[in-house]
Amino acid sequence: MSKNREIPPRWMSWILELYCSKDLLEDLQGDLHEYYTRNLKKSQFKADLIYFLDVIKFCRLYTIRKPKILGQMTSFNLLSNYFKTSARSLARNKLFSSINIFGLAISMSIGILMITYISELLSFDTFHEKGDRIYRVHSTYQSISSSEPSNFASTSVFVGKKLKEEYAGFEKVLLMRRNFRADLNKGENTIAVRGHYASVEFFDVFTFNLISGNPSTALSEPNSIVLTETSAKKLFKEQDALGQIVTSGEDSYTITGIIEDLPKNSHIQFEALMSFVTLENRFAGSETTTFFDWRSIWMNYVYLLLPEGQDPALINNHLKKIAEAENLKTDRYQIHHRVESLANLVPGEELSNNIGPSMTWKGIYQLVFLTLFVIVSACFNYTNLSIARSLRRAKEVGVRKVVGAGRTQILTQFVFEAIIVALISVTISYGLFVLIKPFFMEIVIDGNDLITMDFQWIHVLYFIAFAMCIGILAGILPSIVLARLKAISVFRDASSVKLMKGLSLRKILIVLQFTTSIFLIIGSTIAYRQYKFALNFDMGFTTENVLNVSLQGNHSKLLMTEIEKLPEVSKISRSGMIPNTGEIWSEEIKYKDPMDSADVFVNFIDKNYFSTHEFTFLAGGSFPYDQEEGDAKFVVVDELLLKRFNIQDPHSAIGEIITVDRRLEDAKLEIVGVVKEFQYTKIHRESEPVALIQGTPDDYMHLNLIVQSNDMVAFMDKLEDIWSEVDRVHPFEARFYDELIQEAYDDQATLFKIFGFLAFLAISIASMGLLGMAVFTTETRQKEISVRKVLGASKQNLMLILSKGFITMLIISAAIAMPLSYLFFTEMVMVDFVNRITIGPVELLSGVLIVFTIGILTIGWQTGKAAMTNPADMLRDE
């Protein structure tokens, strides 16, 4: 060491500080220092050494600081005091408390939503006793024509059989196939069931409770069927269903088991299970079937039950060997397999052809990210507002410190207060959560009825833990600021206390928050306008009072004659599909040139279709008659089809023959009418040629009724009566055309709702941040305001001075948000929309206007309050 130090090394005294109790530390350190100075005369090294040894030696029972926990015991008594002060301070500033509480509650409701959702997702498939040993074979299909391989949850029967026959390393191989559908009939009753095919191992692998029947043989015989309790009850009422024979069309099945209704958190859902042997027998005789092929990976599932402690890598090796051998046989595609454990199915990776519901981790991460963003944003505001308000609490802290409170105690107190606020918030947010739950279920889970989001008692624990975390997160910063306050400076001059650094960072954050708000409000306005625009779009035909009844495979004539008798029905027609609802049918159509074919949208309709929907004819008219038997003869086309085949005059098109391919196998159809261009697809697509082909009974899927009725409920009942006479299996389905269109544009309504909701969140969070800033500014500038007032400044003047900074911030936000959202919506979201609203100043200014109103109200309220205070109150102490 080149230069002599006069003081002992810092780290040595730091050790002392580490263990030594507070009341002994100072003089002990002093003593050692004194000795150190003495020893320095000998040598630096010796002094250091002795000092170090002393530090070590002084580590004795009586010098050691008592563990924190003991100290906290006394402050446990203080908790009641903290609670009291917190309650008082919350009650004193009712407005601010409620803003804080509500602000947190809004964001926490999203957090609660996430907790409920994710805890439910994680509970999927946890009820299987051997769950940790169940694996599923997944497939990857790489065709030479595509660059990206696709991943499938399904696999081939081939792989399952191969594993079973030639490989070892598992206890059971379960084969399944999806899409078993049947209309089961027993005497008077018929029910439609959906389910899967499953091999006999089903009940060995999975833990589903069989109420009656033998689990080891239930699925062993062909034509054996296992029903769920509910479907069995529907079919047999109170009778015992086991062993009964039911028919479905030509087939008859034996009921070999009744299974308890499935838990909702199962990734496999069914109403009936058919034995897999049934399928195998059906396909075994056929020469042409691809059922047993290596490449039939689209419909089948293979589940494996591994022995205890078995490494799935072994199975992957088997699968690799199988794939290598089989992939050699073709050069058009490559298929690979691997196993995935049951726990990783739902939620899992993104796969096609899932057997049941699927939730991907990716989606969950996105939701979690959004949630965290909202929560952190709200916590930031709490922090912001609390720091701004903490000047009010400075004196309290000063008194506490004088009386002997330590830094940790002050810290504990304010964190405790934040936790109380968070706990109050969490109860409110549960209310909000109940409000937004259906909304969330509709949009995010999208009709997946397996997710219930029901309350469970364990959630209470999660919510409390969550509230504590939020309390700590939001409260820690203001608490640190308050704990750092020096008693002496608080009493000397409270206004000199520097509360905040990084003011510009906070300004940037607030500008950011407001930009987001404006952007989201503009977004929701645009989405709403586009939605309304789509609904009111002139489609070229009328949908008013049109009620579409789904035929569901029934013969149209019978129903039609019955329905026609109803006085409320003025007109009736039949059609294949319903235009402008997203459904598309197309055929290949040729005119004179056999080499020139065009893909044309089609619909199959009867002659009344044009009058029920009020189409405008440019030439000709509807079909002369309906074809109840045999092939179609006539067609009505729209003007775009004429353009496509270069027919100039609509009138000259009448009587021309076009050829319709594919489904109708080169049918020659005579054009009997030309209609004006109309909307076949949804409106954001370009209009394309349409051919309205004369339908035959097999083509019709819907009846279109024109209904005039004052009592719709009674009318619907009458319709349903007629329906149940004809079809007892399928429930009656009828929708008004306008409703169907509304549904078709649901995605836009959803977009509008999401944007609206996010905008609401963003603006509440942003205005709270702004409020925090406004409060801070007015409180710190209180004296300046008073002096100005004394010197004669008017109220308006003062408000202007105080608000200037904020207004600038708002203007900056608007300046960023308007062009940004304009570009985002015109260049990214609606770029492919053919028919769309023009985004003008009205849409853009809407967001700015709303945000400005809220912002200015917030600022005005604070500045107004500040400008009204009596200067005498403020300056009295000077």
Binding site: E26, D27, G30, D31, Y62
Partner: protein
């Protein structure tokens, strides 16, 4: 109670504090013991004894003004309490009584 009697070193420390009057703080005490008795004592030992005496209520302490040689830290000054004085007197009395019981001839030839 065992604590009513003073240990030998405790007694010395107490006596030193009493003799140093207002200047009694740990380093000074160590020095004084060394110079009067010639015993080289360690600070740690003295510190522990001071702590024990204070717990017994025989001495009281208060912090003085910070000084530069101590790195700006304050000294802890000790004062003998009433109980301390009583304890010292008692110890002295006990010894005096014992001394007075010893016949003169025991120490003959030593002086």
């Amino acid at each position: 109670m065992k604590g009513t009697n003073l240990g030998e070193f405790e007694e010395i420390v107490l006596l030193t504090i009493a003799s140093l009057m207002a200047e009694a703080y740990s380093v000074n005490i160590v020095d004084e013991i060394a110079s009067v008795t010639g015993r080289k004592t360690k600070l740690g030992v003295v510190h522990a004894v001071l702590n024990r005496l204070e717990k017994k209520g025989l001495i009281t302490s208060e912090l003085g003004e910070p000084t530069k040689e101590r790195g700006g830290r304050r000294k802890r000054f000790f004062q003998i309490s009433h109980a301390g004085k009583v304890a010292l007197m008692k110890a002295k009395e006990q010894r005096d009584r014992l001394w007075s019981n010893i016949p003169e001839l025991v120490f003959q030839g030593i002086r």
